[in-house]
Protein backbone atom coordinates (compact mmCIF):
# COMPACT_ATOMS: atom_id res chain seq x y z
CA UNK A 1 0.00 0.00 0.00
CA UNK A 2 1.72 3.11 -1.29
CA UNK A 3 -0.65 5.27 0.69
CA UNK A 4 0.21 3.77 4.06
CA UNK A 5 3.91 3.63 3.28
CA UNK A 6 3.95 7.31 2.32
CA UNK A 7 1.79 8.27 5.26
CA UNK A 8 4.17 6.48 7.62
CA UNK A 9 7.15 8.15 5.95
CA UNK A 10 5.65 11.63 6.14
CA UNK A 11 4.58 11.00 9.70
CA UNK A 12 8.11 10.00 10.65
CA UNK A 13 9.51 13.10 8.98
CA UNK A 14 7.05 15.28 10.90
CA UNK A 15 7.94 13.63 14.19
CA UNK A 16 11.65 14.05 13.55
CA UNK A 17 11.10 17.65 12.49
CA UNK A 18 8.93 18.48 15.46
CA UNK A 19 10.78 16.88 18.36
CA UNK A 20 13.31 19.66 17.98
CA UNK A 21 10.48 22.05 18.83
CA UNK A 22 9.14 20.30 21.88
CA UNK A 23 7.81 23.57 23.15
CA UNK A 24 5.23 23.33 20.36
CA UNK A 25 3.80 20.32 22.13
CA UNK A 26 3.10 22.41 25.19
CA UNK A 27 1.78 25.23 23.07
CA UNK A 28 -0.69 22.88 21.38
CA UNK A 29 -1.59 21.30 24.71
CA UNK A 30 -2.30 24.75 26.03
CA UNK A 31 -4.37 25.73 22.99
CA UNK A 32 -6.40 22.55 23.15
CA UNK A 33 -6.94 23.17 26.83
CA UNK A 34 -8.18 26.70 26.10
CA UNK A 35 -10.51 25.40 23.44
CA UNK A 36 -11.83 22.81 25.87
CA UNK A 37 -12.43 25.50 28.47
CA UNK A 38 -14.43 27.54 25.97
CA UNK A 39 -16.49 24.52 24.94
CA UNK A 40 -17.23 23.24 28.41
CA UNK A 41 -17.58 26.72 29.83
CA UNK A 42 -20.07 27.63 27.12
CA UNK A 43 -22.03 24.44 27.72
CA UNK A 44 -22.01 24.99 31.48
CA UNK A 45 -23.43 28.49 31.06
CA UNK A 46 -26.06 27.36 28.58
CA UNK A 47 -27.17 24.30 30.50
CA UNK A 48 -27.43 26.30 33.69
CA UNK A 49 -30.44 27.95 32.03
CA UNK A 50 -32.01 24.99 30.21
CA UNK A 51 -31.83 21.19 30.19
CA UNK A 52 -32.43 20.53 26.49
CA UNK A 53 -30.98 22.27 23.48
CA UNK A 54 -32.69 21.50 20.20
CA UNK A 55 -33.79 18.17 21.66
CA UNK A 56 -30.28 17.22 22.81
CA UNK A 57 -29.48 16.79 26.49
CA UNK A 58 -26.22 18.00 28.05
CA UNK A 59 -24.48 14.60 27.83
CA UNK A 60 -25.50 14.24 24.20
CA UNK A 61 -24.17 17.68 23.37
CA UNK A 62 -21.01 16.68 25.21
CA UNK A 63 -20.68 13.66 22.92
CA UNK A 64 -21.08 16.05 20.00
CA UNK A 65 -18.31 18.24 21.43
CA UNK A 66 -16.13 15.12 21.61
CA UNK A 67 -16.77 14.44 17.93
CA UNK A 68 -16.10 18.10 17.22
CA UNK A 69 -12.64 17.83 18.81
CA UNK A 70 -11.92 14.49 17.19
CA UNK A 71 -12.79 15.66 13.68
CA UNK A 72 -11.22 19.07 14.25
CA UNK A 73 -8.05 17.22 15.26
CA UNK A 74 -8.13 15.11 12.13
CA UNK A 75 -8.55 18.20 9.97
CA UNK A 76 -5.72 19.97 11.78
CA UNK A 77 -3.50 16.89 11.78
CA UNK A 78 -3.34 16.21 8.10
CA UNK A 79 -6.02 17.82 5.91
CA UNK A 80 -5.52 21.51 6.58
CA UNK A 81 -1.69 21.57 6.75
CA UNK A 82 -1.46 19.80 3.40
CA UNK A 83 -3.95 22.12 1.75
CA UNK A 84 -2.30 25.21 3.18
CA UNK A 85 0.99 24.00 1.79
CA UNK A 86 -0.64 23.40 -1.58
CA UNK A 87 -1.95 26.96 -1.76
CA UNK A 88 1.44 28.33 -0.72
CA UNK A 89 3.29 26.25 -3.23
CA UNK A 90 0.96 27.26 -6.06
CA UNK A 91 1.56 30.90 -5.18
CA UNK A 92 5.32 30.71 -4.97
CA UNK A 93 5.74 28.05 -7.64
CA UNK A 94 7.32 25.34 -5.48
CA UNK A 95 4.63 22.93 -6.59
CA UNK A 96 6.99 22.31 -9.50
CA UNK A 97 9.11 20.14 -7.21
CA UNK A 98 6.16 18.07 -6.06
CA UNK A 99 5.05 17.55 -9.65
CA UNK A 100 8.36 15.97 -10.53
CA UNK A 101 7.98 13.28 -7.88
CA UNK A 102 7.03 9.80 -9.08
CA UNK A 103 3.98 9.29 -6.83
CA UNK A 104 0.56 10.77 -7.48
CA UNK A 105 0.71 14.51 -6.80
CA UNK A 106 -2.70 14.65 -5.14
CA UNK A 107 -1.61 11.98 -2.70
CA UNK A 108 1.66 13.69 -1.83
CA UNK A 109 -0.03 17.04 -1.46
CA UNK A 110 -2.77 15.60 0.73
CA UNK A 111 -0.56 13.87 3.28
CA UNK A 112 2.67 15.74 2.71
CA UNK A 113 2.44 17.92 5.76
CA UNK A 114 1.39 16.61 9.15
CA UNK A 115 0.94 18.65 12.28
CA UNK A 116 1.56 15.88 14.79
CA UNK A 117 0.64 17.91 17.85
CA UNK A 118 -2.98 17.93 16.76
CA UNK A 119 -3.06 14.30 17.90
CA UNK A 120 -3.76 15.91 21.26
CA UNK A 121 -7.13 17.12 19.96
CA UNK A 122 -7.93 13.65 18.70
CA UNK A 123 -7.12 12.06 22.05
CA UNK A 124 -9.08 14.71 23.88
CA UNK A 125 -12.04 14.19 21.55
CA UNK A 126 -11.99 10.47 22.29
CA UNK A 127 -11.77 11.24 26.01
CA UNK A 128 -14.75 13.59 25.94
CA UNK A 129 -16.80 11.11 23.92
CA UNK A 130 -16.03 8.36 26.41
CA UNK A 131 -16.94 10.59 29.34
CA UNK A 132 -20.18 11.59 27.64
CA UNK A 133 -21.13 8.00 26.89
CA UNK A 134 -20.42 6.94 30.47
CA UNK A 135 -22.52 9.88 31.62
CA UNK A 136 -25.34 8.82 29.31
CA UNK A 137 -25.16 5.40 30.90
CA UNK A 138 -25.81 4.09 27.44
CA UNK A 139 -24.23 0.94 26.18
CA UNK A 140 -22.94 1.53 22.73
CA UNK A 141 -23.63 -1.64 20.84
CA UNK A 142 -21.56 -2.98 17.98
CA UNK A 143 -24.10 -1.61 15.53
CA UNK A 144 -23.87 1.95 16.87
CA UNK A 145 -20.10 1.82 17.11
CA UNK A 146 -19.89 0.54 13.55
CA UNK A 147 -22.26 3.19 12.24
CA UNK A 148 -20.33 5.83 14.11
CA UNK A 149 -17.06 4.77 12.51
CA UNK A 150 -18.69 4.63 9.10
CA UNK A 151 -20.17 8.12 9.50
CA UNK A 152 -16.86 9.40 10.82
CA UNK A 153 -15.09 8.02 7.75
CA UNK A 154 -17.73 9.46 5.42
CA UNK A 155 -17.52 12.82 7.18
CA UNK A 156 -13.73 12.77 6.98
CA UNK A 157 -13.82 12.05 3.25
CA UNK A 158 -16.40 14.78 2.66
CA UNK A 159 -14.36 17.35 4.55
CA UNK A 160 -11.17 16.28 2.82
CA UNK A 161 -12.78 16.65 -0.61
CA UNK A 162 -14.22 19.99 0.39
CA UNK A 163 -10.78 21.25 1.42
CA UNK A 164 -9.20 19.84 -1.70
CA UNK A 165 -11.73 21.57 -3.95
CA UNK A 166 -11.18 24.88 -2.17
CA UNK A 167 -7.41 24.56 -2.27
CA UNK A 168 -7.55 23.58 -5.93
CA UNK A 169 -9.20 26.92 -6.61
CA UNK A 170 -5.79 28.45 -6.00
CA UNK A 171 -4.82 27.30 -9.49
CA UNK A 172 -7.24 29.93 -10.77
CA UNK A 173 -7.35 32.51 -7.97
CA UNK A 174 -3.91 32.71 -6.49
CA UNK A 175 -4.72 34.64 -3.34
CA UNK A 176 -7.19 32.47 -1.44
CA UNK A 177 -5.22 31.57 1.67
CA UNK A 178 -7.92 32.89 3.97
CA UNK A 179 -10.49 30.50 2.53
CA UNK A 180 -9.07 27.88 4.86
CA UNK A 181 -8.82 30.12 7.90
CA UNK A 182 -12.44 31.01 7.45
CA UNK A 183 -13.33 27.33 7.53
CA UNK A 184 -12.14 27.41 11.12
CA UNK A 185 -14.76 29.94 12.12
CA UNK A 186 -17.43 28.07 10.18
CA UNK A 187 -16.39 24.87 11.86
CA UNK A 188 -17.35 26.47 15.17
CA UNK A 189 -20.94 26.07 14.02
CA UNK A 190 -20.36 22.30 14.18
CA UNK A 191 -20.16 22.47 17.97
CA UNK A 192 -23.94 22.49 17.99
CA UNK A 193 -26.43 20.11 16.39
CA UNK A 194 -27.45 21.46 13.00
CA UNK A 195 -31.09 20.78 13.83
CA UNK A 196 -30.84 23.90 15.98
CA UNK A 197 -30.35 26.17 12.99
CA UNK A 198 -33.03 27.72 10.78
CA UNK A 199 -33.51 25.78 7.51
CA UNK A 200 -31.40 28.01 5.23
CA UNK A 201 -28.42 27.76 7.55
CA UNK A 202 -28.96 24.05 8.12
CA UNK A 203 -28.85 23.41 4.39
CA UNK A 204 -25.86 25.70 4.05
CA UNK A 205 -23.96 23.78 6.71
CA UNK A 206 -24.94 20.49 5.14
CA UNK A 207 -24.48 21.02 1.43
CA UNK A 208 -22.47 24.21 0.90
CA UNK A 209 -19.96 23.76 3.71
CA UNK A 210 -20.50 20.15 4.76
CA UNK A 211 -19.84 20.61 8.47
CA UNK A 212 -23.00 18.74 9.45
CA UNK A 213 -21.52 15.54 8.03
CA UNK A 214 -18.34 16.08 10.00
CA UNK A 215 -19.80 16.52 13.46
CA UNK A 216 -23.58 16.27 13.79
CA UNK A 217 -24.02 13.10 11.74
CA UNK A 218 -21.37 10.99 13.55
CA UNK A 219 -22.72 12.29 16.86
CA UNK A 220 -26.21 11.25 15.76
CA UNK A 221 -24.88 7.78 15.08
CA UNK A 222 -23.28 7.69 18.50
CA UNK A 223 -26.43 8.79 20.33
CA UNK A 224 -28.70 6.54 18.30
CA UNK A 225 -30.48 9.19 16.25
CA UNK A 226 -29.19 8.25 12.84
CA UNK A 227 -31.81 7.47 10.21
CA UNK A 228 -31.34 5.57 6.98
CA UNK A 229 -31.64 8.59 4.70
CA UNK A 230 -28.81 10.40 6.46
CA UNK A 231 -26.68 7.29 6.47
CA UNK A 232 -27.05 6.64 2.77
CA UNK A 233 -26.81 10.34 1.97
CA UNK A 234 -23.48 10.66 3.80
CA UNK A 235 -21.94 7.63 2.13
CA UNK A 236 -23.26 8.67 -1.28
CA UNK A 237 -22.04 12.23 -0.93
CA UNK A 238 -18.60 11.05 0.20
CA UNK A 239 -18.22 8.87 -2.91
CA UNK A 240 -19.57 11.58 -5.20
CA UNK A 241 -17.23 14.21 -3.80
CA UNK A 242 -14.25 11.91 -4.13
CA UNK A 243 -14.89 11.74 -7.85
CA UNK A 244 -15.73 15.43 -8.28
CA UNK A 245 -12.72 16.66 -6.33
CA UNK A 246 -10.44 14.39 -8.34
CA UNK A 247 -11.82 15.82 -11.59
CA UNK A 248 -11.45 19.40 -10.39
CA UNK A 249 -7.93 18.63 -9.18
CA UNK A 250 -6.90 17.30 -12.58
CA UNK A 251 -8.41 20.22 -14.48
CA UNK A 252 -6.77 22.61 -12.02
CA UNK A 253 -3.41 20.97 -12.34
CA UNK A 254 -3.55 21.42 -16.08
CA UNK A 255 -4.26 25.08 -15.46
CA UNK A 256 -1.14 25.41 -13.29
CA UNK A 257 1.78 27.23 -14.75
CA UNK A 258 4.69 27.31 -12.33
CA UNK A 259 4.89 30.80 -10.91
CA UNK A 260 8.63 30.55 -10.52
CA UNK A 261 9.34 29.16 -13.95
Amino acid sequence: MTFLRLLAAFFKVSVVGEVAYRVNFFIQLFQTFLSLVVSLGGLAVIFSYTDKLGGWGPQEILALVGVYFLVGGMIGLVIQPGMEKLIESVRDGTLDFTLTKPEDTQLIVSIGRIDIWRLIDILLGLGIMTAALIGLGEKVGLWQAGMFLLMLAAGGVIIYCFFLILATLSFWFVRIENILTIFQSMYEAGRWPVSLYPPWLRYGLTFVVPIAFATTVPAEALTGRLNWETLLGAVGLALLLLVISRVIWRVGLRHYSGASA
Binding site: Q31, S35, V38, V45, Y49, L201
Partner: protein, 267 residues
Protein backbone atom coordinates in the same frame (compact mmCIF):
# COMPACT_ATOMS: atom_id res chain seq x y z
CA UNK B 1 0.78 66.48 9.81
CA UNK B 2 0.09 67.27 6.18
CA UNK B 3 2.51 64.58 5.10
CA UNK B 4 0.74 62.12 7.37
CA UNK B 5 -2.63 63.03 5.85
CA UNK B 6 -1.16 62.44 2.43
CA UNK B 7 0.09 59.05 3.57
CA UNK B 8 -3.38 58.09 4.79
CA UNK B 9 -4.99 59.14 1.53
CA UNK B 10 -2.50 57.11 -0.47
CA UNK B 11 -2.91 54.10 1.79
CA UNK B 12 -6.70 54.33 1.47
CA UNK B 13 -6.37 54.28 -2.30
CA UNK B 14 -3.95 51.37 -2.29
CA UNK B 15 -6.06 49.28 0.05
CA UNK B 16 -9.24 50.04 -1.83
CA UNK B 17 -7.61 48.97 -5.08
CA UNK B 18 -6.22 45.83 -3.47
CA UNK B 19 -9.56 44.96 -1.87
CA UNK B 20 -11.40 45.32 -5.15
CA UNK B 21 -8.95 42.87 -6.62
CA UNK B 22 -9.66 40.32 -3.92
CA UNK B 23 -13.43 40.54 -3.68
CA UNK B 24 -13.77 36.82 -3.11
CA UNK B 25 -11.56 36.75 -0.06
CA UNK B 26 -13.39 39.80 1.28
CA UNK B 27 -16.66 37.94 0.97
CA UNK B 28 -15.29 34.86 2.70
CA UNK B 29 -13.94 37.01 5.49
CA UNK B 30 -17.37 38.56 5.97
CA UNK B 31 -19.04 35.18 6.19
CA UNK B 32 -16.79 34.37 9.13
CA UNK B 33 -17.59 37.67 10.79
CA UNK B 34 -21.31 37.03 10.48
CA UNK B 35 -21.47 33.34 11.26
CA UNK B 36 -20.04 33.30 14.76
CA UNK B 37 -22.43 35.81 16.34
CA UNK B 38 -25.23 34.22 14.33
CA UNK B 39 -24.52 30.80 15.84
CA UNK B 40 -24.60 32.18 19.37
CA UNK B 41 -27.73 34.14 18.50
CA UNK B 42 -29.43 30.91 17.48
CA UNK B 43 -28.14 28.93 20.45
CA UNK B 44 -29.26 31.55 22.96
CA UNK B 45 -32.62 31.98 21.22
CA UNK B 46 -33.13 28.24 21.60
CA UNK B 47 -32.14 28.40 25.27
CA UNK B 48 -34.42 31.34 25.85
CA UNK B 49 -37.36 29.68 24.09
CA UNK B 50 -36.99 26.49 26.08
CA UNK B 51 -36.67 28.51 29.30
CA UNK B 52 -40.01 30.21 28.70
CA UNK B 53 -39.02 33.24 26.63
CA UNK B 54 -36.22 34.84 28.63
CA UNK B 55 -32.91 34.20 30.34
CA UNK B 56 -31.91 36.63 33.07
CA UNK B 57 -32.80 40.08 31.82
CA UNK B 58 -32.64 38.97 28.17
CA UNK B 59 -35.73 38.00 26.20
CA UNK B 60 -35.41 35.99 22.99
CA UNK B 61 -35.69 39.20 21.01
CA UNK B 62 -33.07 40.87 23.21
CA UNK B 63 -30.64 38.09 22.35
CA UNK B 64 -31.27 38.73 18.67
CA UNK B 65 -30.60 42.43 19.18
CA UNK B 66 -27.52 41.71 21.28
CA UNK B 67 -25.81 39.47 18.77
CA UNK B 68 -26.75 41.59 15.75
CA UNK B 69 -25.20 44.66 17.36
CA UNK B 70 -22.25 42.55 18.48
CA UNK B 71 -21.65 41.57 14.89
CA UNK B 72 -21.44 45.23 13.89
CA UNK B 73 -19.31 46.29 16.84
CA UNK B 74 -16.92 43.42 16.21
CA UNK B 75 -16.74 44.29 12.53
CA UNK B 76 -15.94 47.85 13.51
CA UNK B 77 -13.19 47.08 16.00
CA UNK B 78 -11.75 43.91 14.49
CA UNK B 79 -8.11 43.78 13.41
CA UNK B 80 -6.06 41.09 11.67
CA UNK B 81 -2.79 42.74 12.54
CA UNK B 82 -1.36 39.79 14.49
CA UNK B 83 -1.37 37.56 11.43
CA UNK B 84 -0.02 40.37 9.32
CA UNK B 85 2.84 41.04 11.70
CA UNK B 86 3.83 37.44 12.03
CA UNK B 87 4.02 37.28 8.25
CA UNK B 88 6.05 40.47 8.03
CA UNK B 89 8.62 39.41 10.59
CA UNK B 90 8.86 35.88 9.24
CA UNK B 91 9.41 37.08 5.70
CA UNK B 92 11.70 39.93 6.70
CA UNK B 93 9.27 42.46 5.22
CA UNK B 94 9.35 44.56 8.34
CA UNK B 95 12.80 45.78 7.41
CA UNK B 96 11.29 47.86 4.61
CA UNK B 97 8.63 49.27 6.88
CA UNK B 98 11.28 50.25 9.40
CA UNK B 99 13.22 52.15 6.77
CA UNK B 100 10.29 54.44 6.07
CA UNK B 101 10.37 57.80 7.81
CA UNK B 102 6.92 57.37 9.44
CA UNK B 103 5.81 54.98 12.15
CA UNK B 104 4.44 51.81 10.49
CA UNK B 105 1.28 51.95 12.61
CA UNK B 106 -0.10 54.69 10.36
CA UNK B 107 -0.27 52.58 7.26
CA UNK B 108 -1.85 49.78 9.32
CA UNK B 109 -4.54 52.12 10.64
CA UNK B 110 -5.30 53.40 7.16
CA UNK B 111 -5.36 49.87 5.82
CA UNK B 112 -7.72 48.68 8.54
CA UNK B 113 -10.10 51.64 8.24
CA UNK B 114 -10.34 51.54 4.46
CA UNK B 115 -11.08 47.83 4.26
CA UNK B 116 -13.77 48.29 6.89
CA UNK B 117 -15.37 51.17 5.02
CA UNK B 118 -15.56 48.88 2.05
CA UNK B 119 -17.33 46.07 3.93
CA UNK B 120 -19.51 48.31 6.08
CA UNK B 121 -22.48 48.70 3.67
CA UNK B 122 -22.77 44.94 3.23
CA UNK B 123 -22.44 44.30 6.96
CA UNK B 124 -25.15 46.85 7.76
CA UNK B 125 -27.46 45.21 5.22
CA UNK B 126 -26.81 41.77 6.71
CA UNK B 127 -27.37 43.14 10.21
CA UNK B 128 -30.68 44.70 9.20
CA UNK B 129 -31.78 41.49 7.50
CA UNK B 130 -30.86 39.37 10.52
CA UNK B 131 -32.49 41.84 12.91
CA UNK B 132 -35.69 41.56 10.88
CA UNK B 133 -35.50 37.79 10.50
CA UNK B 134 -35.03 37.20 14.23
CA UNK B 135 -37.29 40.10 15.29
CA UNK B 136 -34.54 41.76 17.26
CA UNK B 137 -35.58 44.24 19.88
CA UNK B 138 -33.21 47.16 20.16
CA UNK B 139 -34.56 50.01 22.24
CA UNK B 140 -31.91 52.46 23.43
CA UNK B 141 -32.60 55.88 24.90
CA UNK B 142 -31.56 58.77 22.62
CA UNK B 143 -28.61 59.54 24.95
CA UNK B 144 -27.37 55.98 24.58
CA UNK B 145 -27.38 56.28 20.80
CA UNK B 146 -25.37 59.48 21.07
CA UNK B 147 -22.96 57.98 23.59
CA UNK B 148 -22.56 54.93 21.38
CA UNK B 149 -20.61 56.92 18.79
CA UNK B 150 -17.65 57.92 20.99
CA UNK B 151 -17.81 54.56 22.78
CA UNK B 152 -17.53 52.67 19.50
CA UNK B 153 -14.69 54.89 18.38
CA UNK B 154 -12.87 54.31 21.66
CA UNK B 155 -13.47 50.59 21.33
CA UNK B 156 -11.83 50.62 17.93
CA UNK B 157 -8.81 52.63 19.10
CA UNK B 158 -8.26 50.63 22.28
CA UNK B 159 -8.53 47.30 20.49
CA UNK B 160 -6.24 48.49 17.73
CA UNK B 161 -3.59 49.69 20.18
CA UNK B 162 -3.72 46.48 22.22
CA UNK B 163 -3.69 44.12 19.27
CA UNK B 164 -0.98 46.04 17.53
CA UNK B 165 1.11 45.83 20.70
CA UNK B 166 0.36 42.13 21.04
CA UNK B 167 1.33 41.60 17.41
CA UNK B 168 4.79 42.90 18.29
CA UNK B 169 5.37 39.64 20.14
CA UNK B 170 6.54 38.51 16.71
CA UNK B 171 9.74 40.44 17.39
CA UNK B 172 10.69 37.98 20.11
CA UNK B 173 9.33 34.74 18.75
CA UNK B 174 8.47 33.74 15.21
CA UNK B 175 5.84 31.32 16.49
CA UNK B 176 3.16 33.63 17.77
CA UNK B 177 0.08 31.63 16.92
CA UNK B 178 -0.20 30.31 20.49
CA UNK B 179 -0.24 33.84 21.83
CA UNK B 180 -2.80 34.89 19.26
CA UNK B 181 -5.09 31.99 19.97
CA UNK B 182 -4.90 32.53 23.70
CA UNK B 183 -5.84 36.11 23.11
CA UNK B 184 -8.79 35.15 20.91
CA UNK B 185 -10.10 32.61 23.40
CA UNK B 186 -9.94 35.14 26.22
CA UNK B 187 -11.61 37.61 23.93
CA UNK B 188 -14.39 35.21 23.07
CA UNK B 189 -15.24 34.58 26.69
CA UNK B 190 -14.55 37.86 28.40
CA UNK B 191 -15.79 40.28 25.77
CA UNK B 192 -19.33 38.96 25.71
CA UNK B 193 -19.09 37.14 22.39
CA UNK B 194 -20.20 33.80 23.82
CA UNK B 195 -23.00 35.22 25.93
CA UNK B 196 -23.97 38.57 27.42
CA UNK B 197 -21.59 38.97 30.35
CA UNK B 198 -24.37 39.35 32.90
CA UNK B 199 -25.32 35.72 32.23
CA UNK B 200 -21.84 34.44 33.07
CA UNK B 201 -20.83 33.43 36.61
CA UNK B 202 -19.97 36.28 38.91
CA UNK B 203 -16.18 35.64 39.11
CA UNK B 204 -15.98 35.74 35.32
CA UNK B 205 -17.80 39.06 35.33
CA UNK B 206 -15.29 40.51 37.78
CA UNK B 207 -12.44 39.30 35.60
CA UNK B 208 -14.12 40.82 32.56
CA UNK B 209 -14.39 44.15 34.36
CA UNK B 210 -10.68 44.46 35.03
CA UNK B 211 -9.50 43.20 31.62
CA UNK B 212 -9.86 45.20 28.42
CA UNK B 213 -11.94 42.72 26.37
CA UNK B 214 -15.32 43.68 27.71
CA UNK B 215 -14.78 47.35 27.05
CA UNK B 216 -14.10 46.89 23.34
CA UNK B 217 -17.11 44.68 22.55
CA UNK B 218 -19.62 43.85 25.26
CA UNK B 219 -19.88 47.34 26.64
CA UNK B 220 -20.72 49.12 23.35
CA UNK B 221 -23.22 46.37 22.53
CA UNK B 222 -25.04 46.61 25.85
CA UNK B 223 -25.07 50.38 25.54
CA UNK B 224 -26.79 50.42 22.15
CA UNK B 225 -29.12 47.62 23.18
CA UNK B 226 -30.40 49.90 25.94
CA UNK B 227 -29.26 47.75 28.86
CA UNK B 228 -27.07 50.32 30.61
CA UNK B 229 -27.80 53.23 32.91
CA UNK B 230 -26.07 56.57 32.31
CA UNK B 231 -23.81 55.89 35.30
CA UNK B 232 -22.77 52.51 33.86
CA UNK B 233 -22.10 54.13 30.50
CA UNK B 234 -19.84 56.70 32.15
CA UNK B 235 -17.98 54.01 34.07
CA UNK B 236 -17.48 52.16 30.80
CA UNK B 237 -16.13 55.24 29.07
CA UNK B 238 -13.77 55.68 32.01
CA UNK B 239 -12.53 52.11 31.66
CA UNK B 240 -12.04 52.67 27.95
CA UNK B 241 -10.06 55.82 28.63
CA UNK B 242 -7.89 53.97 31.14
CA UNK B 243 -7.18 51.19 28.64
CA UNK B 244 -6.48 53.75 25.95
CA UNK B 245 -3.77 55.19 28.16
CA UNK B 246 -2.40 51.78 29.14
CA UNK B 247 -2.47 50.63 25.53
CA UNK B 248 -0.65 53.71 24.33
CA UNK B 249 2.09 53.44 26.96
CA UNK B 250 2.48 49.70 26.38
CA UNK B 251 2.74 50.22 22.65
CA UNK B 252 5.52 52.79 23.08
CA UNK B 253 7.50 50.57 25.44
CA UNK B 254 7.06 47.34 23.52
CA UNK B 255 7.78 48.94 20.16
CA UNK B 256 10.98 50.47 21.45
CA UNK B 257 12.16 47.22 23.00
CA UNK B 258 11.02 45.18 20.00
CA UNK B 259 12.79 47.17 17.32
CA UNK B 260 15.97 46.77 19.39
CA UNK B 261 15.83 42.98 19.40
CA UNK B 262 14.56 42.69 15.82
CA UNK B 263 16.74 40.89 13.39
CA UNK B 264 15.00 40.14 10.13
CA UNK B 265 14.56 36.45 9.54
CA UNK B 266 16.25 35.55 6.31
CA UNK B 267 18.19 38.80 6.10
Amino acid sequence: MKALAGLYVQQFKTTMAAMFQYRASLLIWMIGQVLEPLVYLIVWSAVSNSAGGSVGSYTTRDFAGYFVILMLVNQFSYTWIMYEFEYRVREGLLSFALLKPVHPIHSDIADNVSSKLLTLPAMVLIAVALAAAFQASISPQPWAVLAFIPVLLMAFIVRFLLEWTLALAAFWTTRVSAINQTYFVLMLFLSGQIAPLTLLPYPVQILADVLPFRWVIGFPVELLLGKLSPAEALTGLGAQAAWLLIGFVLLRIVWKAGTKVYSAVGA
